[in-house]
């Protein structure tokens, strides 16, 4: 089976966010594989181990993303592709990324494409479904279970807490939700092997795309931090008094009861 994973490099969830001049400060930040994409990598490896084939992880980004691709290779993916847009594109949106990936996948015969259901940075969740639509293949978002038997695919999908059982077929794109699996940590031998695994680097002209073809449709004009929340008031007295005061504050001062 020809399995692909869409992967994004993101800020570590532990990171505090700093903003200067309407941009996110990322000089000193730690980066990780987007946590939802980790589920996708883990699932891809498990499906390959069960059904045979090959796992290729693909990212659109800059050369810094090589580190996260190597981590995915160390987890057990077979190949990696970095579509490096650093020199060609100043900016882009989900339209841009999906266009680039579409050009990349147009020539590939992917049986299964996995992605995270959302990236924890920009959190649009658009790229997976956009790509599936462009490729004309079905997609199922926020999956928590994936079973493939011959060409029949049975999926459990999280829908705001309910579970839908979905039946579909390959080729298919899915986006992964928490609960799907427990992503493994790369092992030491895995890390050693990853260094020798193929990592192909492409630019958009390798995909016969020009800058104009992928020009963004939306633009970020400002980034700012939310207003600082003032530290609260810890109530005093015995429990009964505290509870009484709390309810009174919620009812009369904040008017939320």
């Amino acid at each position: 089976m020809n399995i692909y994973v869409l992967l994004k490099r993101t800020f570590d969830t532990e990171e505090k966010i700093d903003v200067s001049n309407g941009r996110i400060e990322d000089e000193s930040a730690e980066f990780i594989i987007n946590p939802y994409d980790e589920y996708a990598v883990e699932e891809a490896i498990n499906q390959r181990d069960a059904h045979g084939g090959e796992v290729t992880v693909v990212t659109v980004g800059d050369e810094e993303s090589e580190k996260q691709l190597r981590t995915a290779l160390a987890m057990g993916a077979d190949k990696a592709v970095l579509i490096n847009t650093e020199d060609d594109l100043e900016d882009g949106d989900q339209y841009t990324t999906a266009k680039i990936l579409h050009a990349f996948f147009a020539e590939k015969e992917a049986d299964l494409i996995l992605a995270g259901n959302v990236a924890i940075d920009e959190a649009s969740g658009q790229v997976g479904p956009r790509l599936a639509e462009a490729l004309g293949i079905p997609f199922v978002t926020t999956i928590t279970s994936l079973k493939i038997e011959d060409n029949t695919v049975t999926i459990e999908k999280d829908v705001e807490g309910d579970v839908e059982i979905v039946e579909t077929s390959l080729p298919l794109l899915v986006t992964c939700q928490q609960g799907l699996n427990e992503p493994r940590y790369p092992s030491l031998p895995g890390i050693m092997k990853a260094k020798k695994k193929p990592l192909e680097e492409l630019e958009i002209d390798d995909l016969d795309l020009e800058e104009d073809d992928v020009e963004q449709k939306t633009k970020t004009i400002d980034i700012y931090l939310p207003p600082e929340k003032e530290a609260g008031r810890v109530l005093e007295g015995d429990v009964d008094e505290q509870v009484k005061e709390l309810v009174s504050l919620l009812k009369n001062e904040k008017k939320v009861l």
């Binding site: 920009e122 658009q126 807490g161 309910d162 009964d240 009861l257």
Partner: protein
């Protein structure tokens, strides 16, 4: 010619979800003069829902009824909504950023070769065009986005843009449109209702969330009681989910749901940065924790230090007595 904005409706158990009315209000914010055309899909008779959408500010509603629209699938709803969009050629499309909205809108955007701003919490004016405010990094920061080319296509986060007042004196056409919905490759075999008890997290006005301090699955029972009294929903921290006190569907945080209720009661939650990212934009935050040093107190409006199993039952009684 004036602008036209389509609002894609969303229904559950035969009634429109509140976020659909919020989407109408959002469309009005984008352009107060625009004609607002609602589109509602389903397998049952949709005339009443169409009428309701008019009361909430739509000028005209298109209903699409088909057996293959009984349960949402991106392919079924995609075909139906696209037929309406192609016929109307709108300048904008607005939908709720719900499970269905997240699934359907990127597909439509790809089909329409359009941009899409997901998960807006506010709409401002930037010169002569709308600017959309949306949380990034799970609410650790906000960005302001504008559309630079093509359709004004946006999804809005539930609970942030208030709906217009319901006005029964409003009138408008509700017209059924025939669309043949075929060739669906993703079949919904079954739906296991887990969340049907109580209110959906993303739309809840009140959330009672439990963490590791709740100690076990049974410990969540008083939280459900409290949520019940408040007409709210129960959520959880990652710690509580990892410890299997509750389902991952309840998780609030950077991985998990991001929520902005009017009242968030954090019970036995220490307040890791990842959890705060998911809830710190709630309007009023109450923290109940036995550790006075817990980080959650730094962002809570009100805190009670103590044993939650002692405090919650008293809180339930007190709320009952004042309601």
């Amino acid at each position: 010619m004036s602008e036209k904005i389509i609002v894609i409706g969303e229904n559950r158990d035969g009634t429109l979800r509140n976020v659909t009315f919020e989407a109408v209000a959002a469309a009005k914010k984008i352009n107060p003069d625009a004609e607002i055309v609602g589109v509602i899909c389903g397998a049952e008779d949709l005339a009443n829902q169409g009428q309701e959408l008019i009361y909430y500010g739509a000028d005209r509603v298109i209903t699409i009824q088909h057996d293959n629209l009984k349960t949402y699938t991106s392919e079924g709803f995609g075909q139906a909504v696209l037929a309406a969009v192609n016929e109307e050629s709108p300048d904008g499309i607005v939908m709720g950023h719900t499970s269905i909205g997240k699934d359907l809108t990127p597909k439509l955007a790809a089909k329409l070769d359009s941009g899409l701003v997901s998960d807006a919490v506010d709409i401002e004016n930037e010169g002569d065009q709308p600017a959309f405010v949306r949380p990034i990094y799970s609410g650790k920061a906000f960005e302001k986005k504008i559309i630079t080319d093509g359709l004004t296509f946006v999804t809005i986060r539930p609970n942030n843009i208030p709906p217009l007042e319901r006005d029964e004196s409003r009138s408008g056409d509700v017209i059924a449109k025939d669309v043949d919905v075929t060739d669906i490759r993703t079949i919904i075999k079954d739906v296991i209702r887990k969340a049907s008890e109580g209110v959906d997290l993303s739309e809840a006005n009140v959330i009672v969330a439990g963490g590791r301090g709740v100690k076990n699955a049974d410990g969540f029972k008083p939280l459900y009681e409290l949520a019940d009294v408040l007409g709210g929903a129960v959520g959880a921290s990652r710690g509580a989910c990892d410890a299997e006190y509750c389902d991952y569907a309840l998780q609030i945080g950077q991985t998990g749901k991001v929520v902005t209720p009017d009242l968030y009661i954090a019970v036995g939650i220490s307040g890791a940065i990842q959890h705060l990212a998911g809830m710190s934009n709630s309007k009023v935050i109450v923290a109940i924790n036995k550790d006075p040093e817990a980080n959650i107190f730094n962002i809570a409006d009100y805190g009670i230090v103590g044993d939650l199993f002692d405090i919650i039952p008293k809180l339930i009684e007190e709320i009952k007595s004042v309601k």
